[in-house]
Amino acid sequence: MEVSIASYIMLSAVLFILGAMGVLLRRNAILVFMSVELMLNAANLALVAFARHWGQTDGHLFVFFVITVAAAEVAVGLALIVAIFRTKKSINIDDLHELQG
């Protein structure tokens, strides 16, 4: 393997930072959602890189389950976003402050 594992891990870290910046900086719920997907992908990338490095299947299995859970999370999350949009006519996360008490 000519490209060292360090390159993959750095790519994963930078992708994770991008996702984290998106979650912290954007105001739209769907964009926050997409940024969460970016972070999940960065974690998957690191898991597969380490699985390749050690020649084990465990990392691959974790990625498999992460993808499954991400699919479930997206289905429920987007349903919630659409339901919120129907009642509030907005999905700006700054407009959603009913639970502040």
Binding site: S4, L11, N28, M34, L38, N41, N44, A75, K89, N92
Partner: protein, 176 residues
């Protein structure tokens, strides 16, 4: 050092796709374009899975992420039509921006320093990667073997069913 060969060229192209797509998601003003950029980024990650000898996961990535999740996000963008074009790109709270920038440098330093070292020594070739490669066959066996991952596998199916029913219940219009 990274020498120039087919693999490093492929890695460079896929890394540019992945990070460019990520930047597109974080920086754009139009939600629909954001969804397209997300697909670009996910496709780059699928290519990197191929480079890391995980062709099954690359196929799952394309099928589930690009084929299902990105399409679902596109649907959600279209259902929330009036929010598609954002007047304002970022939050206005300075605290969030400060935290994000700090996090950026923290993680960047945390990954770059161990690789390049503080005094110019590189640590990325301490150990060579394993000779044997995890195959799709081993992955399939591990998922149905009673001693390994059969229970998480069943729980995952249950989770998917629950999520599907939950999504229908949440998104359904009230009838009365």
């Amino acid at each position: 050092m990274i020498e120039i060969n087919a693999q490093s060229i492929a890695f460079a192209i896929l890394a540019v796709l992945t990070l460019g797509g990520g930047l597109g998601v974080v920086l754009n003003r139009n939600l629909f374009r954001g969804a397209i950029w997300l697909m670009v980024s996910l496709f780059g990650v699928a290519g990197i899975f191929v480079l890391l000898s995980a062709p099954f996961l690359a196929a799952v990535q394309v099928l589930v992420y690009i084929g299902a999740i990105a399409i679902l996000i596109t649907f959600a963008v279209m259902l929330t039509r009036s929010m598609t074009n954002l007047g304002e790109r970022f939050v206005r709270r300075t605290a969030g921006i400060v935290v994000a920038v700090l996090l950026f440098f923290f993680i960047l330093l945390g990954t770059i320093l161990p690789v390049w070292g503080v005094d110019g020594t590189r640590y990325d070739d301490v150990s060579a990667p394993a000779e044997n490669v995890a195959t799709t066959r081993e992955l399939g066996v591990a998922l149905v073997d009673g001693n390994q991952f059969v229970l998480p596998f069943e729980v995952a199916s249950l989770l998917l069913t629950a999520a599907m029913i939950g999504a229908i219940v949440i998104a359904r219009e009230d009838e009365e």
